[in-house]
């Protein structure tokens, strides 16, 4: 077992990628490690011809993944859009791992992301000592990806200031990165493309300019359609977490996951699952990703502080933590939900008591 806290997708699923490469005989776009169909299989999962089982990475609509992969084969970049926690970064990591075999070319977008971190920067010591030269140039992931013909990922594109965002336009349309200081340019090698992620809630922060928008194909990742789908996602991710974290706790019972997913779904949609009661929605997004972290959190609690079995008390703190983001309003919402929905449910007595104790 590796001593790394978290492995990259291409490390964690190295075997799957290798098998896929072996089996995948179709035509590959230049510099791609797999065929487009192979990439889709890697994401959605399936059985290979030799019986090798590929685990699903994205659980949901296959067509969306097909659109995403097809986009990467054209000269448009891909923009993954969705609520926080709808697996945007997850999908982008796996896409680049499958397409380029490398998911490490990444730029994290923040309000402070400058042009230097997208185009190139300078090693000032060298610059002063030797004058402008290629050696003094500090390459960004974007520049490296262009040179190597790989996928570069830009996280939270809409967080980046509008002026900095627009530096991408030349890169995306002309596929080149001019360096006027050295009178040279870096032209992208085939296989280069950009996957950006942005979330719906921050839409207003730095809307993409229409010129930039035109360079992206947008795929909106939805929240899971059905209860079963969501439970499946949580279960798989929690299992992989156990493996990575080497937790001594027993794997969580399905019913425990079901309860958490139910709570999250109900609060997110504002109605109980039976559709009978209307409830208030809290300010947080309550995404599937948060449900996953609540279960993981609970497992850790159970393992180190409890008896190794996931109990309601281990989960309560996590649930409250993700529901109550605003100490005043969300607290009321949660209390109301607890009293009107959780309390009357007979099998939920333990969770009710555990949450009650914490409030």
């Amino acid at each position: 077992m590796s001593s790394l806290l978290r492995q990259h997708a291409e490390q964690l699923f190295a075997q799957e990628l290798e098998e896929l490469q072996k089996q995948d005989t179709g035509k590959r776009p230049a510099n791609w490690k797999l065929t487009p169909q192979g990439v889709v299989t890697y994401l959605i999962g399936g059985k290979l011809k030799n019986g090798f089982e590929v685990t699903p990475k994205y659980i949901g609509n296959k067509r969306l993944m097909e659109i995403a992969v097809a986009t990467l084969t054209t000269d448009r970049a891909l923009l993954l859009y969705g609520l926080p926690g709808t697996a945007k970064s997850w999908v982008s990591e796996h896409l680049s791992a499958a397409v380029s075999g490398d998911s490490t070319m990444i730029v994290q977008g923040t309000a402070g992301t400058s042009e230097e971190s997208i185009r190139y920067g300078w090693n000032y010591a060298r610059l002063l000592a030797e004058g402008p030269s290629e050696k003094a140039l500090v390459e960004t992931p974007v520049m490296r990806a262009m040179k190597d013909g790989k996928i570069v990922r830009i996280e939270e594109l809409t967080r980046i200031g509008a002026d900095v965002q627009d530096t991408l336009i030349t890169i995306l349309s002309e596929k080149t990165l001019p360096v006027p200081e050295l009178n040279m340019e870096v032209q992208a090698v085939k296989g280069f493309n950009v996957i950006a992620t942005a979330n719906n809630r921050d839409k207003g922060v730095n809307e993409l300019s229409s010129a930039l928008k035109r360079r992206f194909n947008t795929v909106i990742l939805p929240v899971p359609d059905s209860m079963e789908e969501e439970i499946d996602i949580v279960k798989r991710r929690v299992e992989s977490f156990e493996k990575v974290m080497e937790l001594p706790a027993e794997p969580p019972a399905l019913q425990e996951i079901r309860r958490i997913v139910t709570i999250f779904r109900e609060l997110r949609s504002g109605v109980t699952l039976d559709g009978k009661t209307r409830i208030k929605t809290p300010s947080g997004t309550l995404s599937t990703a948060e449900a996953i972290s609540v279960v993981n959190n609970g497992l850790a609690m159970a393992a180190y502080f409890g008896d190794g079995q996931l109990k309601a008390a281990d989960l309560a703190a996590g649930i409250i933590g993700s529901v109550v983001k605003d100490p005043v309003q969300d607290k009321l919402v949660w209390q109301e939900y607890l009293e009107t929905v959780v309390k009357p449910r007979d099998e939920w007595k333990d969770i009710y008591r555990a949450c009650r104790d914490l409030m």
């Binding site: 097909e66 659109i67 035109r214 194909n217």
Partner: protein, 761 residues
């Protein structure tokens, strides 16, 4: 030589194959699945003005609601087959079980089911094949509900081929391909296997249909036709290839019941052709099929260009680059899915991703305008049609009110000749319950504007045929229909509502009958309340006199006589009523008073005032009503100053029980407290009265007082409160004496005001 061409109803690929096949084989007769009664109608196909989508409507003249449609689009294989025959001047016949028997059989089944009672509901639902390859008739009144969800046999084949949906499989196998030589043999073979593998008991009607088809084929053979082309739903193909003995078929078809049926061409719409309208053989996307039919070789470019054009007309920036990218993405998607060509799904996904930024909302627009599309067909005027239908079409043309599949709004200005005629026409159709136009409220004052929303549905044709019994023109039919309804009505309110709708339709005779009916009913009715309820509506009707040169005078007569009746019996009706009833009566009073004011007829007003007086003066009248009557008199300035004070004081005096006084006050102050604010004497009166109440009495009348005051507007309440605070009888409004203006000083201000107004002096 008999060629059996099994097709999917409304499949553009099938249509293309049929067309190519016919041109190659050159048959001398074409037999098409459809009702033989409609054979005479076939000669109209290829008429320049018969533009698909159209449908053959088959109906029972004595029961038009019982009817069937056979819709055709340009991309329907049946249409192409008939069109080919017409073009080449060869025989073409329908060969399905005649509707005359079909409908009679249905009627029998229906009656049997009714007799059997509820215990055997749907017991006999046969497992038919999907309508898309079986029967393309659109049933108006299904005897039994459409068969419940069951597995369509074709989906077995689709599953075997790795598709999740039978329709999709069929689409890719047969509709999207070019140049397939033996496609019809393949279809027949496939269906043959299916029918053997999934042998179900075909229902009796299904067996008869196929027997009749075979009978028609035999007949054609007997008539010495050499090359016979048979176009039928794919499901039937095997049954027509393997002919059983003629005797068996004749046996099956012996002694069939009959009903009288008639048929005609009617315009159809694409939206009715779609699956969503409940049409069994419907298709997902008529607009897309139409596109496929016209541009079979399109790789998506032309479609995307259409989408872009639509987006641009909706003010959405769509560049050529967008279109290029979208087409590319659709192609890539198709190749990833191992399709030889991008279908509608790939194109839609590309549109959503590239043009719509992933948002679903905009796709709705494409769905309505392009995928389903708002097309409506056209039928030549000279086709024999029910006279009422003809009249409607003529009027539509004359008034420039075309039937459209999408809704369209018209704002009519009744001062214009054409608009007035349109309004009359639409009102008449509405009276006939032909639901083409819907009238909406229009903002703004005046009675000369009307807003209509028109949308044509193919079912309207049945409505028209049904109403054909009433007359041959819209005016005549509407007139008779209204008269009949008025005579049958037994409630005043029904007839008066009818009258309200009849007057704008300008049906003089009907108006007269309505008025007569109202008169009779009013005379017979002892219930004054009923009269009061109806009257305001009638008065509203008379207002039309201003724009429409109509029968307002006639109505005025009836209004007069009704008001007289009301005035006579009202005082007695106001005595000994409970509080609740009084409350209701008060509302009617309110409206009636308005109505009288609208009429502005001095005689009626005088009569009304007289009635008010007697109610106000009556001891026995309900205190609330008599209070209101007093107030109305005050409004008419018939009770003023000292006299009003006297009356009020009398009603409020300590001799009157407090609850009665409070009721009276509620009636008196109904609707407005302004009078209380302005009339100082009155104010003192009320104030003093409240002062005299001891605590117990005050507590008792408080709810009533609250009820009264709650009816006031909040500024009024506030002012009243302020006035009370200012101290008892405090005079708030000080009138300026007329001669108190100092003219000299006023003059000094004038130049400034002139300057402010921009007038030079």
């Amino acid at each position: 030589m008999i060629h059996i061409l099994g097709i999917r109803h409304h499949g553009p690929g099938s249509a293309k194959n049929v067309k190519e096949f016919l041109e190659k084989v050159q048959p001398d007769i074409v037999l098409v699945e459809g009702p033989p009664e409609a054979d005479p109608l076939l000669k109209w196909v290829n008429h320049a003005e018969l533009k698909p989508p159209v449908a053959i409507l088959v109906y029972q003249p004595d029961d038009p609601q019982h009817s069937s449609f056979y819709p055709f689009a340009e991309f329907s294989p049946e249409w192409q087959a008939i069109a080919y025959a017409r073009r080449n001047d060869i025989h073409v016949r329908f060969m399905d079980l005649p509707m005359t028997h079909h409908m009679a059989l249905e009627k029998e089944t229906f009656e049997r089911l009714k007799q059997d009672g509820e215990n055997k509901k749907e017991g006999e639902q046969p497992g038919d094949a999907a309508p898309s390859v079986n029967n393309y008739a659109f049933r108006n009144n299904e005897v039994a509900p459409p068969p419940a969800v069951r597995k369509d046999p074709i989906s077995w084949l689709a599953e075997a081929a790795g598709y999740d949906d039978g329709e999709k499989w069929w689409e890719h196998m047969f509709e999207h391909r070019h140049g397939n030589e033996q496609v019809f043999d393949a279809v027949t073979e496939a269906m043959q296997v299916l029918r053997e593998e999934f042998a179900q008991k075909e229902s009796r009607v299904e067996q008869m249909r196929e027997a009749w088809m075979r009978k028609t084929i035999r007949q054609a053979e007997k008539e010495m036709f050499q090359t016979i082309a048979v176009i039928c739903g794919a499901w039937h193909a095997p049954a027509l290839v393997n002919m059983p003995k003629a005797k068996d078929d004749n046996e099956l078809l012996k002694g069939l019941p009959k009903v009288k049926v008639e048929c005609t061409w009617i315009p159809w719409t694409f939206s009715r052709l779609s699956y969503y309208s409940g049409y069994g053989a419907g298709i997902e996307s008529p607009g897309w099929y139409d596109h496929l039919w016209h541009y079979p070789k399109d790789d998506g470019t032309r479609w995307m260009a259409k989408v872009a054009k639509l987006f641009r007309t909706k003010q959405m920036d769509t560049s050529v680059a967008h279109v290029i990218e979208a087409v590319r993405l659709a192609e890539t998607l198709a190749s990833m899915r191992n399709l030889y060509k991008a279908g509608l799904e790939e194109l839609n996904e590309a549109t959503k991703t590239v043009l719509c930024n992933g948002e679903d909302v905009l796709m709705q627009l494409i769905r309505e305008e392009l995928i389903v599309s708002n097309r409506i067909g056209d039928v030549p005027t000279e086709i024999p049609k029910p006279p009422l239908q003809l009249d409607i079409e003529r009027t539509q043309k004359k008034l420039r009110l075309p039937a459209t599949a999408d809704y369209k709004d018209y704002t009519l200005d009744l001062r214009k000749e054409n608009d007035l005629e349109r309004s009359i026409f639409l009102h008449r159709l509405q009276l006939l319950e032909i639901k083409w136009g819907e009238r909406h409220d229009v903002s703004g004052k005046g009675t000369f504007k009307e807003l209509w929303r028109l949308q044509w549905h193919p079912e309207i044709s049945i409505n028209i045929i049904e109403k054909g019994n009433w007359g041959n023109t819209v005016a005549e039919a509407a007139e008779k229909f209204v008269i009949q309804k008025a005579k049958e009505a037994d409630a005043l309110s029904t007839v008066s509502a009818l009258l309200g709708n009849t007057i704008p339709a300008e049906l003089h005779q009907a108006v007269e009958v309505c008025i007569q009916c109202i008169n009779n009913l009013a005379a017979a009715s002892g219930d004054v309340i009923q009269l009061m309820e109806v009257l305001p509506g009638l008065v509203q009707v008379t207002r039309y006199g201003s724009v429409r040169k109509t029968d307002a005078d006639l109505v005025l007569g009836i209004v007069n006589s009704m008001l007289t009746r009301i005035c006579v019996s009202l005082p007695t009706a106001c005595t000994a009523v409970s509080d609740d009833a009084a409350q209701k009566l008060l509302e009617l009073f309110f409206k009636l008073n308005d109505a009288v004011n609208v009429l502005q007829q001095s005689e009626i007003t005088a009569l009304w005032q007289q009635t008010l007086r007697s109610i106000a003066a009556s001891d026995n009248a309900s205190p609330m009503i008599s209070g209101y009557a007093t107030r109305l008199l005050a409004d008419y300035k018939l009770l003023e100053g000292d006299e009003l004070v006297r009356v009020f004081h009398f009603s409020m005096s300590s001799g009157t029980p407090p609850d009665k006084a409070a009721s009276w006050l509620e009636g008196f102050l109904k609707g407005s407290g302004t009078i209380l604010l302005i009339d100082n004497d009155l104010w003192c009166l009320v104030n003093n009265w409240v002062d005299t109440l001891d605590e117990e009495t005050f507590t008792r009348v408080l709810p009533l007082l609250r009820r009264t005051f709650a009816g006031f507007s909040s500024p009024e309440r506030k002012k009243i409160g302020e006035k009370v605070k200012a101290g008892g009888s405090g005079a708030v409004v000080k009138q300026v004496a007329e001669n108190a203006i100092d003219e000299e000083r006023a003059k000094q201000g004038i130049p400034v005001i002139m300057q402010l107004l921009g007038i030079k002096n």
